[in-house]
Assembly symmetry: C2
Homo-oligomer: 340 residues x 2
């Protein structure tokens, strides 16, 4: 029955000072590892701290230092993101690991509704965190606007379109898409289409651009189908459309592994063999890729490194250091498997 009310009063810095027969100031100094405190005093204080079971009251500390040693990580649109995107977990872990090195606490905030958005904005305004990292936000999102207005140090993972002055980390979707498409073409495919998605987002638009780069003159807009979401169902639907438009299609670049999985379902259903009749490549290297039959060739994002890079950048900003550059794009890696 640990109700808030019957918890005993917590020991304060005063209690420690009294126990150790010194003043608050001296206690504060050993707490913060400052010089100029005698060995005898330090020992007495450390003993006293242990004896009275003292822990710092962070609210009080934050009030005066204006720092919390916490970084917020905002996960936007979690319904589509959390349950489908396998990279997000890895980004989270990477961020956590990097912040951990500097003893910063990662606090993850979820925005699923407008109400959440407003509340999170209040939370950020409230000074609970020193900086934020934002995953999968868009530029016109209320939360992005709020962050700008608050003036909180912020780093976007996968930067939104048309905001050149924000800090970000991401991958070079365009050249990754170009590279894997080129490799697919290298297997001798003649009619190659794309199952695009989320063209209103940076990632989606760039992947399409990269596909186009690789095809050059051979690019045929008829062979591009697009959906708003990176889902298996959309992949299936898109693949049906592609087959209807171009029965002779022999190569597909899917904008995500989930889409590729849906496409492969349809190909099997229609009796096309992979990779003999149709070669297919995906994007993300999620666990879909290994569970497909045959295993999917795809682009691996260094999601954990992305998280770490974002963390490093936000730490720089928080400490007043301007990061080396505005944004950083991390290299991707092609995982070539049996599907093409």
């Amino acid at each position: 029955m640990a109700q808030p009310t019957d918890r005993p009063r917590r020991a304060t810095i005063f209690d420690v000072a009294a126990e150790a027969n010194v003043s608050r100031g001296t206690v504060s100094r050993v707490l913060n590892g400052e010089p100029y405190v005698s060995d005898t005093a330090r020992e007495a204080i450390e003993l006293a701290i242990a004896r009275v079971g003292y822990v710092r009251n962070m609210a009080a500390r934050n009030l005066v230092t204006q720092r919390t040693h916490a970084i917020g990580l905002i996960v936007h649109e979690p319904h589509s993101v959390f349950l489908e995107d396998p990279n997000i977990g890895a980004i989270l872990l990477g961020t956590n690991e990097r912040l951990s090195l500097e003893d910063y606490q990662l606090v993850c905030l979820i925005i699923g509704s407008d109400r959440d958005s407003a509340r999170v904005a209040d939370y950020l305004r409230g000074g609970f965190v020193d900086g934020v990292i934002i995953i999968s936000a868009r530029e016109y999102d209320p939360i992005s606007l709020a962050i700008a207005e608050i003036g909180l140090p912020a780093v976007f993972v996968g930067h939104p379109l048309s905001q050149p002055d924000i800090h970000y980390v991401g991958i070079d979707n365009r050249s990754a898409a170009r590279d894997i498409t080129a490799r697919l073409l290298g297997t001798g495919r003649q009619r190659v289409g794309m199952l695009a998605a989320a063209l209103d987002r940076d990632s989606g638009a760039e992947r399409l651009a990269g596909f186009r780069d690789a095809l050059g003159d051979r690019f045929d807009p008829e062979l591009v189908v697009s959906h708003p979401l990176y889902s298996r169902a959309n992949g299936a639907e898109g693949m049906r459309a592609l087959l209807d438009r171009a029965p002779d299609i022999d190569g597909v670049f899917a904008a995500s592994d989930a889409i590729a999985a849906g496409a492969m379902d349809v190909l099997r259903e229609r009796g096309r063999r992979v990779p003999e009749d149709v070669g297919i490549v995906g994007f993300d290297d999620s666990d879909w890729a290994l569970r497909c039959q045959p295993e999917l060739s795809t682009v691996r994002q260094p999601a954990d490194l992305l998280g770490m890079a974002a963390a490093s950048m936000v730490l720089d900003l928080v400490n007043g250091k301007q990061p080396a550059n505005q944004g950083s794009l991390l290299p991707t890696e092609i995982q070539w498997r049996g599907s093409a």
Copy 2:
């Protein structure tokens, strides 16, 4: 270049009071929606707030109220959990949704290492949250011990064994196991076995008990194989053992979907058709279920509802209300698909 240092001094409650020609106290009252403030004063204050762009300083508020209106959600062992368990995302969203209704902020904390564990414990001690929800912790975890020591209101999702005095939410593994076994029997199976797992955990033991309940007199201990872990490999091994002991087996209840997947591998290998020769059902409704061929009949956990229930419970605790009961078990739902 929004560096911390050049941000202008934030407006305080004093500024608002001066602007509106009233006192701090009155401003505080309208801020907190308290009665006994005149309409004229209220209007003047609201205007002033907007004019000076005032937002409350939460650190200061927390210092005096000893409340933060935030609830921590601790995700433990994220490497295994985040990337594999699809239920966790749903629990998170459910929790967030419920807390949102009461204007509580959910902050998610990740523990991936001992260092994280200690830092999170400090964070909790620091009073940044009013209560915690813990996912997938065990009773001897350092963080569980720390929480107990701090005396913070806490709710476990999926409660650990042998701690009768903690609050928890979970599912009724026993009756869910009974129900799905009964349904499997309903398809006319004569010789039904179980691939059990993790009998040292609450969930594992209860699933076996439910299986036994459903079989009644027909229960044959020879037809139960058990392993310590819910893994695909264990499922395969167990299925081999079952087939050796009882070649005429025609039904299997697997304690998890991963186990069922392993079992189906072996059945295919041995030339038994599913569901014609052997019917099989699983537990969890993870994404294994939909990727099996045929799709797996399984027990769906109401993960979002679990999150909501945990949130409700922790809110009760935080507000000093003793929840109706120590724990609550939520009903599950059978997803009936092609495997039985």
